[in-house]
């Protein structure tokens, strides 16, 4: 049987969802039998492949770069999964949304530090006005809320997807 191509993506989030993903422990063996992880912070690939079956996305869309990434990922992915509250609702990254970006950067990089008081502009992608959930920009096929979603919840969802079942994991999922 052909192995399923699985990718994971880390946008504006704390990596907690990826940690939780690692917490599936021995479950990773089952996943590895059925899927190749073709892209993500846990593997080496540099370019997002052209055709991926399942992509788990952690984090909110916060910067221009996030936006480009998620649009490209959407084009190349069959089933796109928002993994965790940041991707689903904006969550913690979205807490900055009530503050205008220049004011925010000023507060953090100028008022908030003792030395090198300057807002970084080079080699950092410009922030979007607000950090927003994935579905505000692209069509999302499945939402897995949680901060982070528990390892069991992730494993249940991923296993269902790998086996071609519709994940009926809703009852196990919650915000926060």
């Amino acid at each position: 049987m052909k192995k399923i191509k699985l990718a994971t993506v880390w946008l504006d989030g704390c990596a907690g969802c990826h940690m939780s993903l690692l917490d599936i422990d021995a479950g990773i063996l089952t996943v590895a039998q059925k899927a190749d992880i073709v892209y993500g912070p846990l593997v080496d690939a540099q370019e997002f492949p052209d055709e991926v079956d399942v992509t788990l996305v952690e984090g909110a869309v916060s910067s221009q770069e996030d936006l480009h990434k998620i649009q490209k990922i959407r084009q190349c992915t069959r089933t796109l999964v928002s993994l965790g509250d940041c991707a689903v609702t904006g969550n913690v990254p979205a807490m900055r949304n009530t503050i205008p970006v220049p004011k925010l950067l000023q507060r953090i990089y100028v008022e908030g530090v003792q030395e090198n008081k300057s807002v970084p502009v080079d080699r950092v992608p410009p922030l979007l006005k607000q950090a927003r959930p994935l579905r505000d920009y692209v069509k999302v096929d499945l939402h897995v809320p949680g901060c982070p979603p528990s390892a069991q919840a992730i494993l249940a969802v991923v296993s269902d997807l790998l086996d071609g079942r519709n994940p009926e994991a809703n009852a196990k999922l919650k915000f926060g």
């Binding site: 509250d85 949304n97 503050i99 607000q130 579905r135 901060c147 809703n170 009852a171 915000f175 926060g176």
Partner: protein, 237 residues
Amino acid sequence: MTQKKLSVRIDGELVNATEGQSILQVARAAGKYIPTLCYLEGLSSVGACRLCIVEVSGSGRLLPACTTPVQDGMSVTTNSPKLARYRRITLELLFAERNHTCSVCVSNGNCELQAMAKTLGVTSIRYPHNFPKLPVDLSHTRYVLDHNRCILCTRCVRVCAEVEGAHVWAVTARGIQSKIVSDLNQQWGEASNCTSCGKCVQACPTGALAEKGFAVEEMTKRSDHISMIAGRKGVHA
């Protein structure tokens, strides 16, 4: 005066009721689940959150179970695909209205809104978030009011007026601008009517009203105590 006995059908099951009871009361007594957020046993019902809408045969409209009195022979459906869909929308709307960041909330894990989302299977929000800029009132010595987490259920308003009799809380402005205010729109700490009894905090279904000194996930509420106190004769102010 003895009240008239009625019989009603709830989800097909025949149950006994007393005249004057609401559909919600009768259904709960019969062990039927109807989701609610603004309802709190012991306080008056306002029919504001619309989660408790039910279908009543013969009525083309959906009716709130908490404020609709039962009538003899009434036949009520407490759940249907349409009701479930509408209830989910209601919850999504509440989540999209203000800044509900469960992961950093004192009531995370003990919140009625969060629990309701899990119960009704809401895993994402289809509507654009508003991300409004809302204040947090830390002026009270013992309690805190975080408007970001308020769902305007007015349980605090009612418990304060109906049980404590202090009438500290009210709703100001209208529509999406509506907001809970203490006394005459003063800081809570300066609201002289407040007796600091803490009933509002216990009645609050979310982390909007909380005791100071609790970190994330630490604030648990005992709204059942409110119902218990309110249930005693002569308590209502």
